[in-house]
Amino acid sequence: MDFSLGEDRQMLVDSLRRFLADKYPFATRTAAAFDGTGWSRDLWGQMAELGAVGALFDESAGGFGGSPFDVGVVFAELGRALVTGPWLATLQAGHVLAAARRSDDLATLIAGERVISYAEEEADTWFDPAAITTKATATGEGWLLDGAKTVVSCAGSVDQLLVVARGDAGLSTFLVERDAPGMTVRDYLLVDGGSAGDVTFAATPAVLVGEAGGAGPVIEAARALALVALSWEAVAVMDVLRDQTLDYLRTRKQFGIVIGKFQALQHRMATIALEIEQSRSAAINAADLFSSDRMTRERAVSAAKTTIGKAGSLAAEEAIQMHGGIGMTWELAMSHYAKRLIMIGHELGDEDHHLARYIALGQELVSA
């Protein structure tokens, strides 16, 4: 039993934290997150140089990490600094590329030279790949895509998209160039900063990645890893929210005393602290069980997403409430952490979705 991060991972954490504190203070972040593309390509490049992308992949994929704990600590630091950009999409796209042994694509991705987003969700999929309708058609020269993807991370400002589409053989994955013919992107900012876009394909040329029809297990595993990442990010955001709220309770005075003296707030704060520790355990469990059999892995990541969904809503809403009026302001960093936490709930399925999934997987387990 060892809950320490280990020396190498701790060094990565320290260097990312120092770098982001220095280069990406709150004012810089707010400017970058709500302007133009909603993220800084320049910062991306510098972080890739520090190893933030390489840490997401193992040596066989050209990286130097790739364990769920490596992924977890990188996303925790991204969360702590509220870094925007296609990080989660890159994680998913990269793991699909790794499964297909696309080492050249991975090399430029890890170096930060090219950025690849990930396009799976459609208007009617609601996180169920079985409902994907974007069509892939094989031609003599390659593949053509037709269909539409929605809320694709930074769709208009990345170099390529890794697209999940359905062909005759079933679900497959494809690389599409951003300026590919027949592709349109409608870009928009996101509530918590950063950007995404709706993408349509009309006979858009694409390059098959991996085996035609064989994408199902690959994209499921990539999503599971992304859920680990989001869980660690959420816990880090909750840690910041808790600390900021504790600071406020220690300093804000009303009725002549600091408001932290009021029992009504103290007991709620204790509950939040407890829920955060349970969330941390859930995130650790999800990372730890990622390498188990599929059922164990999927139940653990759904358990984690359920846990952080519930705790995240509580932590965000209570942090705003305990800050009172000032908690409602754009100017206060806290409010942006609260927004991020609530929006994490909307990524890759919310608390209810994953609770239902956890139950369904459990029933599958019993009847197996």
Partner: protein, 398 residues
Amino acid sequence: MDLKFTPAEEAFRAEVRAFLAEKLPVQLTDKIRKGQHLTKADMEQWHAILNARGWLANHWPVEWGGTGWTVIERFIFETETALANAPRILPFGLSMIGPVLLKYGSEEQKKQWLPRILDGSDWWCQGYSEPGAGSDLASLKTSAVRDGDHYVVNGQKTWTTLAQFANMMFCLVRTSTEGKRQEGISFLLIDMATPGIEVRPIKLLSGDHEVNEVFLTGVRVPVANLVGEENKGWTYAKYLLTYERTNIAGVGASMAALGELKEIARTQKRGGKPLAEDPQFAARLARLEIELENMKTTNMRVLAAAGAGAAPVAESSMLKIRGTEIRQTIDDLTRRAAGTYARPWVPESFEGGWNGEPVGPEWAGPVATQYFNDRKLSIFGGSNEVQREIITKAILEL
């Protein structure tokens, strides 16, 4: 990060399982599975079995008959015994007065009392709470006045668990009314056979007799039975309350109870379908299971920190709060699962050896009383509100 137990720890687990398979009497596990009451003799029998193996005082120093186990080994032992439906080790001697004597008692007191805890000569009870001193324990009023070689004790204790079986009581008494309230409290060891002591049962809402009132009228206690120094008892009392942390969350017992609940959910039908397929019930059950899985890891994290020398004050209170909430939720869902069969009350069925016909499924008989009985969990051992105060104090640092 590595959540696995070491090979040595797994070997230890196997050793505990083998021991339980061999030595844990079926007659005891039967009662526990059926939610029946254990008799005094049942509890003494289990203590004797553990003591014969040298595993009774598993957190005492080796020189006093302890095992020298790590916190992880203790956790494994507690989990495995709970999963095997073994009786719990009674805390009053082993986890309460024992550790206080080990830390603050004189050599004579250790030699006199510790072996008697191990061999079962003494059954201790805890004289802490009073009618006017619950969560605010320091307001206790039971007085002890020095009279030659004795203290003369007058007052009333309450919620005294299993005092009906006890021959000894460790007791907080007021020896001074000057200065801070906490600085006038002393820690006395009282023989329950001393004239002037009367034990009256308190019947709980579940119908159970577990706790008692203890009236003390002119009770003469030898000065040799004072632990540590006069008026320093609060320090010892607090030490006792924070001592035992490895099992505060009751993870093993909750795992066992959840396992039974899941079995019930698979077999009990509602509207022709197993309860496990009822969306409302399945959601409650899933949330509970997720909480317990998280709790297991939280517990391990706290143990790992404690093993590394940290004093996880806030975290221990979190374990107490969430651990008891989880157990109460298991009881709640088990009661709901029984539907109408939660209602019949057949108290004689709670005693061992009962051969009557159960009303409804056998498991349903004790579920409502168990639910009501376990409402105590969030009240005793420092209520969950008191635990929240402890957490806030630690994290707010006000």
